[in-house]
Symmetry: C3
Subunit: 426 residues, 3 copies
């Protein structure tokens, strides 16, 4: 704990209390280094973080490493086929264990002094420590992990908040998509020169879509928020939904969001940091691709391509847009107060063959372009909010209600953290 | 405000009080990050900063952006032909507005959500904010601007100090040079790895000139300070001045500095942070060029080339050396405690055509070489003053009186800032 | 002094007190910036630092610069042939004096205003400072220097701790190697992305050798620590020692370490931060080269190649491994909390001619490979100890006793520093 942490907690609490509803955040939350340190604690070492997809560790011994908040989390499938997470740190002298970002291992042998751990994290060998040495006290430090229908979430918290409600909400929505029978088609990593909150603020409204996302708006209804919504738009959504209703029902699917605007998310009052829903695409679009056509084999349980689009999101670091034939997951990781890593992962059915059943140039552009357009907007916002010319601005009640919701959730979590008595000086 | 700011103010005040006149600064002023933060407040967000030349925004809609102290100041000529300054920040979500360093715009349209401002800064359109929204409350946040004979000064202060005395001093000196009828021939940006004060300390004495500025000393008298001044030098200045007196008088010009050494500047006791004067060049030089020849058409009101040299300087960030045929402005901007940006701008008459009336290789070398020689010396000083082997050294009373003057002014401004009660925690 | 230094001293003292013997350090010592600042004071501006070899400044006027802890130390041989150290900083405006990392100078002329110093540091000339100016008050600020048989140590302390015991220990061991009759064959500089303490912890045990140093273990016994030591190994050491005893005695040499494992070093209780000893190499090795053969002319007083290996080390920044025909010195310099510079210097007899008497590709690989293998391990340790998954781990009593010794010495020095009343606010 920093020497000044108690004072910083006071100030954070004061600033949280001073927030004016309906407006953007005070500059303090984007610029003060103490806030970033608090966020690491309150969000990134406490919340449930999306780490990756189960299919990235398909076989026992497969692993990947997720670097977040200064830690390296080793995600590894054990011999019983269970996915486990632990710190990628030897219990002896602290050396990093697995050096590659992803790979396959038998036992985990520390490169430094060859302490050896099983895939379940048990310390198996440590020559030179003497006969009395109790190996059972030195298993790899575990990290909490929850797997839900092919998605892996981890938490660095000592006692994470319950995952049950998130599972209950997401599992039924996720099931037909077949994430557990998918494979990674492509991963692209970005460094966005912007605070992670600005990335979410961008994500939580489509006020900016009409001018900035020419591809997205061709496929989706949700850029016509509230005051833009004409009878024509309302009718189009209703018509698109109606057309699909029978076929969806036959597949056991349901449209869970058919209103104009984005579905409400998150909801601080009810501790809702997760959401999943299915919504129709515009007429003529069966996949979020450049021309709306299906470009890869159907995934999961789908029997026909017109399943609309499945959307998921969990705070603080994940969203996904899934079509009938491919899925696109985005994982955020803060790299400091002024930069955020975004990993974008494209998935297809595990049996689909690149170049035969699908081509990257067909499945990637829609979300690659849309993502990169957003990163540029986030960068422009970052440049501005750190200026002395910035002051909290007014949010549109009809177009930015979800930005207000995000800020409310953020301030609620941060304020709760600030109000707690910090741990004793450690 | 930083949590420790009150304590830092106390320490700054104490350190200012401990300065020993006639010596260089304590290392603290070059090395402590709190000093840099204080300087941003006391000098860079308070003083009048040279931003650029009016001819850089010749037509309505022309703009350039000056980035300083974390801010982006948008300098734009409005439809009435008036130059205005405002923060380059949208009042909605804080996005940066004009993304290029310079350009031409009709209305100012925010790239994020298309809020639209007039060239005068008025908010004209912001769809989605509802009928009741009062646009008049959201004009671009203005920045104070003063234009004096083609030079643009800005101040980020809420209530800047008066500009009148500076205008009164500079306007008559500037008038014949015709800055308002000039054009930019070339801009070169440098990053000097040195504290901005070291750049000024270098600028405020010519003790270093004889060994380091072979070009400069051929054209100028002022490297012969005091104890170097022989009867021969004194006679040469008098003779050069006398020769020009009649012709200057005919042009309405006057030599305002004809003594040996540099004219005294700044003057903390009298709040003098600005200066302008005309001084003769050595015999045979009519322009600060490599061989002293005129290399571009006469500027402004000049009717003959032998007008000596016009010199201006304003603290904390500007100096200019003007000859009959071209001008060279230098604008300083701190990039942190250990680096300073220097922008050097060469101007000629607006009707002069490159390659026909002037050539860059003739107008640039004199001040380009002299500037770059200085930047190297500043870098060497920076390396030394942050060493534990550094301690304040003695200044020459006959060669470094202006360094003493600069330090006095600096400590006066900083000490005043430190003595004020800081604003309430914001 | 930082505003919070008194509080940081308290916390350091508390953390030192909380160290659990037999375990690695608390993360705090690797990660808190205040600890690094304290270390600069307690170790790097207080201790005796190896700077380089006397043969690097063979002639009067030869110099090199050692940059450490923000300072530049100028090491220069004066006209009387004595090696001197001073700050490479002009007493006038603080400019850096000698700009190259090494070279030859007559007088020291400051590039800024040409203040001129003799090779003994006396200020000889400073035009413009007036008749009354007392030059004797402005000699270059000296740095303490001790030379011992061709090795140069410096201390930035105002009053360094005594060097006598170190000299008494090292001089007799060093003498036959002939460092004073050597020359530099090669210098390689590395930046290790690891805290300097991790580099020492790596250096102070050979637990990691068997798996990581295939070259080293072929030549040396000391990777067979304690529990690995079989009767066969014990016999081999005894046999190797016995074989050499007569010939060593004839040369006036003695094996000072012939036990298994590494000789004990350092020893906080007895203030021992220096060590030197001679130990046998394995049968068939007369030099630490890839195949054990002699690859350069004998150095110093040696009359036969089988002199074993001479090993020296001084804290906080030096170790050396010397064979009959070449020596390898390693000098550490912290570049911050998370990086360390390592300079590795290969020496041979001064009369040996490259390409004729020795070849770099024969004298370099053994220690170049071993060093680079270690740097990689240090980097892995650094990545781990800053993770929240790190906690102090158990050290092997039979293989890591010298790591314990190093940590004890480190905590002793740091704790003493923390317990002192800091200087008044300066």
């Amino acid at each position: 704990m920093s020497l000044l942490e108690p004072l910083h907690r006071q100030r954070i609490a004061q600033k949280v209390g001073g927030h004016q509803s309906g407006r953007t955040l005070d500059q303090y939350f984007y610029a003060d280094e103490a806030v970033y340190q608090a966020e690491l604690d309150a969000f990134w070492r406490s919340g449930w973080l999306f780490a990756g997809h189960s299919c990235q560790v398909a076989e026992p011994g497969d692993y990947f490493v997720y670097k977040v908040a200064g830690d390296e989390i080793l995600i590894l499938r054990d011999d019983e086929g269970r996915v486990r997470a632990s710190h990628n740190v030897c219990r002896h002298r602290g050396s990093t264990l697995c050096q590659d970002p992803a790979g396959h291992i038998g036992r985990i042998v520390c490169p430094y002094h060859q302490w050896t751990y099983g895939r379940d994290g048990q310390l198996l060998a440590c020559r030179g420590m003497g006969e009395d040495f109790d190996k059972s006290e030195y298993r790899l430090k575990p990290v909490h992990l929850e797997e839900v229908n092919g998605l892996i979430f981890v938490s660095l918290a000592a006692e994470p908040m319950p995952f049950d409600a998130a599972r209950a909400e997401m599992a039924p929505q996720l099931a037909p998509q077949g994430f557990d029978r998918a494979k990674v088609a492509k991963i692209v990593d970005y460094t966005i020169p912007a605070n992670w909150k600005l990335v979410w603020e961008n994500n939580r409204e489509c006020y900016h879509c009409n001018a900035n996302h020419p591809q997205y708006i061709k496929a989706n209804f949700d850029h016509y928020n509230a005051d833009d919504t004409t009878e024509r738009v309302r009718t189009a959504i209703t018509s698109a939904t109606a057309k699909q209703e029978d076929r969806w029902a036959a597949q056991g699917l349901a449209a869970t969001h058919t209103a104009t605007g984005m579905c409400v998310f998150p909801d601080a009052a009810n501790k809702i940091w997760f959401a999943a829903n299915r919504t129709p695409l515009v007429d003529g679009y069966v996949s979020e691709t450049m021309d709306g056509r299906q470009v890869a084999p159907l995934m999961g349980d789908y029997q026909a391509p017109d399943v609309g689009t499945l959307r998921m999101r969990t705070l603080p670091n994940f969203w996904n847009h899934s079509s009938c034939d491919h899925c696109v997951s985005t994982r955020l990781t803060p790299l400091g107060h002024f930069a955020t890593e975004a990993r974008v992962i494209w998935l297809v059915d595990r049996d689909a063959k690149e170049g035969v059943d699908y081509r990257l140039e067909e499945i990637m552009p829609f979300w690659q372009l849309t993502s990169e357009q957003d990163w540029e907007l986030c960068e422009l916002a970052q440049r501005g909010v750190t200026s002395s010319g910035y002051q909290p601005g007014p949010l549109s009640p009809v177009k930015e209600y979800n930005v207000m919701g995000f800020l409310k959730w953020y301030l609620d979590v941060l304020g709760t953290w600030a109000g707690k008595t910090p741990g004793a000086v450690d």
